[in-house]
Symmetry: C2
Subunit: 453 residues, 2 copies
């Protein structure tokens, strides 16, 4: 037979079973966290009409999109989950209850140039709260709490959620008479971390900002300190611009509710240099950086916007949302050695080894285990004992249960703890209780384990 | 602004939040059941090289596939999860531990003519056990148990798993000297339910089968009764063909282990008319029909095959697997009114209504709820009381908690049970316990509820 060499396309992540299990645990953490905050799961098609997906059009999106025809239809694969959400809300406006809180975890597609750590198919894990006409600031205050718990539930601890408010920036540039240039200025200021304040000043002046205004900008973005210190410094600018004042009020509200939402100060920082590139955002904006790997960039970003679905419906639909690019995050965590090597990634909690020709007793015991919520596999292959044990070893299965003539006649099972090597004869009920307790303990393991600094 | 009319492509299922929640519960049931049997989750790309996906080539597949180019690449969307599994196992052969047990739940794509109940994007929920060279019959015996528990966990009870063994059929036709025609004959016999035995006899004779052989075939496929009765009848044919005898042994083994696997006889039937169209299958084959809706056809099918990945690798990789087409099943269950209308599909277990300007106490209580695993939403919008209650009503949220000045000063929360209308002041801990207990009870609800006959 002519054979075709098996391969997976470059830029597409396909994991071996053990890392896949870690990835699943991360997905599960996100589903659980998002659900705890009352977000409803949503699932939209991967394929949409190209006209719908490209309603906004232009730029990188159009170049990267997977677009093709089938019959007469001009189709494309979704490149994010926001455009499908906008379509969904516009299409089902009359059937939804607002504020509409949804999470969506799904694959999106971008035909980027393939390079290390860049993916053409990747998971986005999004939440959004959409208001009908209005949306209270408390929704913006809640987001850092969700980000905090999402990462903590995976085992990540050393991260900081950076928050700013676009109204503060817009208002500030208005005060300086630079309202028209604010988008350009924000892009320049965004480079602060990379090029430093002097180069930012040069670039600003080069782009036509007066020396005096450039000085004011640098003074402004140099405001740092505790959240309270930054807020106090911002008070000094109050009263000169309405948008600015509103932004400060909003930021103060977000900070105020942090403690009630259970977010410790060390995981949160007001940062006046954060702008998020998109013009789309109009209020609070979020970025999240890993303290030990700032070079990775933001691992969870988002913000408040005023107009989700203007391309599809004549209704003001403000919202706030964030997105985690889980495929890339998983990749960089692996690169940096962040995975918990002790996490049990075995496909089963226990391997039941029948030592008799009749498999019925082993199958009955496995059935009992499953009824108690324990994952159990009966190893029915006709192999040497050593090969059977090697199967359990390779898959790192925590327990092996032997069922031979002796055990069957005595009504017991022999349980081997594969970690300690201990072996004991137990009643079936005792064995189930033991393995179940161990399973519940192992379920507490988190996929990410940071190295102690 | 020029607006584009929002729409979702025809043949693509996109659900409103409440049905989506039911769909999620069904997905969760399958993930849990598959995991309990020691299957490891797998995730492969939606896009593969067209050359890989079409290795087998030919027929309907090629016509229906979504195929397109991006740059120089000839790409296609997967049309099932079996071909990607074959590629995966061939590609990672050296890294996998056999028997390799994997489940995969994912969307697949077929550009079929759009019609009611036909989908172009749909979920397949597959399990397969792959052996390296050999695979024990006990794996085939396990499958009905998995099907049984998968459907039971969703709430479906009135279904029957029909099982046959291809070796019995092949062996029987060999005995009749009809080995060469067996594929054609099986296709004709497959029509028995639709056209009846007389027409089947006519068609067989028309296709060149002798009158006598046609009579034997009809006598054979008329064998019915309890599993034991069918097996006894098959014993009468023993000793004339090796393949046949092996098939009877295998079928007897599958039936023998049913009780140990916890499958009641009423959900299982040996059925000699089942062949499954594909030549691919070589041993046990499975179909599952809804007793009250046989017209829907099989809702879970599969079987034993000998050569998973022959197109990609020079290794014999036998396996056994089944697939549930969840999107179609969900659609027909809805059409037939099978959904549990009492199932709570609310996005949250409790809506916390702050009755003060300061939301901090409400947020703190919601944080406490979430720490206890209860889904909680703080309703922070500035609306009239009636509008807030209407939000809870519309979403069918089971509990509403009020937190006003009085409650805050007394250290209590007021809990309203939205089903009964009862309202009581409780300590925060009591309230958490109450709502949590109710949530755990509601979690026992199953998405499917059959009408009592």
């Amino acid at each position: 037979m002519d054979r075709i060499k098996p391969r997976t396309l470059s830029g597409f992540m396909e994991l071996l079973p053990a890392p896949q299990m870690q990835f699943e645990r991360m997905l599960e953490s996100l589903r659980t966290t998002y659900s705890l905050y009352g977000f409803t799961p949503l699932d939209t098609p991967v394929i949409e009409s190209a006209e719908i997906l490209l309603a906004k059009g232009g730029g990188e999106t159009e170049k990267q999109i997977y677009r093709f025809t089938k019959g007469d239809s001009d189709l494309a694969l979704r490149f994010d989950l926001t455009v499908p959400l906008a379509k969904y809300v516009a299409l089902n406006y009359g059937h939804l209850t607002f504020p509409f809180r949804r999470y969506q975890i799904g694959k999106v597609y971008r035909g980027e140039r393939a390079q290390r750590g860049r993916f053409r198919e990747f998971y986005q894990c999004d939440i959004d709260v959409i208001g009908d006409g209005k949306l209270d600031i408390s929704n913006e205050a809640e987001i850092p709490s969700i980000i905090y718990n999402a990462f903590r539930s995976m085992g990540l601890e050393r991260f900081k959620i950076r928050v700013n408010n676009r109204k503060i920036l817009t208002g500030f540039y208005d005060m300086q008479g630079l309202g028209d240039q604010s988008a350009d200025i924000m892009r320049t200021v965004d480079k602060l971390d990379k090029i430093g304040p002097d180069k930012v000043r040069d670039l600003l002046i080069e782009s036509g900002v007066s020396r005096e205004a450039a000085g004011e900008i640098l003074k402004f973005i140099a405001i740092t300190g505790s959240n309270q210190e930054v807020l106090t410094a911002l008070e000094g600018y109050r009263g000169r611009n309405e948008t600015f004042d509103q932004g400060v009020d909003e930021l103060a509200t977000v900070v105020k509710y942090l403690a009630a939402f259970g977010v410790p100060e060390e995981n949160f920082a007001v940062d006046l240099t954060i702008a998020r590139g998109l013009d789309y955002y109009t209020g609070t904006v979020y970025e999240t950086v890993m303290l030990d790997h700032p070079e990775i960039g933001s691992i969870c970003s988002g913000g408040r916007y005023d107009n989700l679905a203007g391309y599809y419906i004549d209704k003001p639909l403000p919202g706030v949302g964030i997105s985690i690019g889980l495929t890339r995050l998983f990749y960089v965590l692996g690169e940096q050695g962040y995975f918990n090597e002790d996490m049990v990634t075995a496909p089963t909690d226990v391997l039941v080894l029948p030592m008799t020709d009749d498999l019925a007793p082993a199958i009955s015991f496995a059935t009992l285990l499953r009824t108690s919520g324990v994952r159990a596999q009966v190893y029915g292959e006709q192999k040497k004992f050593k090969a059977k044990m090697s199967y359990a070893d390779k898959l790192k299965i925590p327990y092996v249960v032997f069922l031979g003539e002796d055990e069957i006649s005595q009504g017991v099972v022999k349980v081997k703890d594969m970690t300690t090597g201990d072996q004991q004869a137990l009643s079936p009920e005792e064995a189930v209780a033991l393995i179940r307790a161990s399973k519940e303990k192992l379920a507490q393991q988190k996929p990410i384990q940071e190295k102690q600094a």
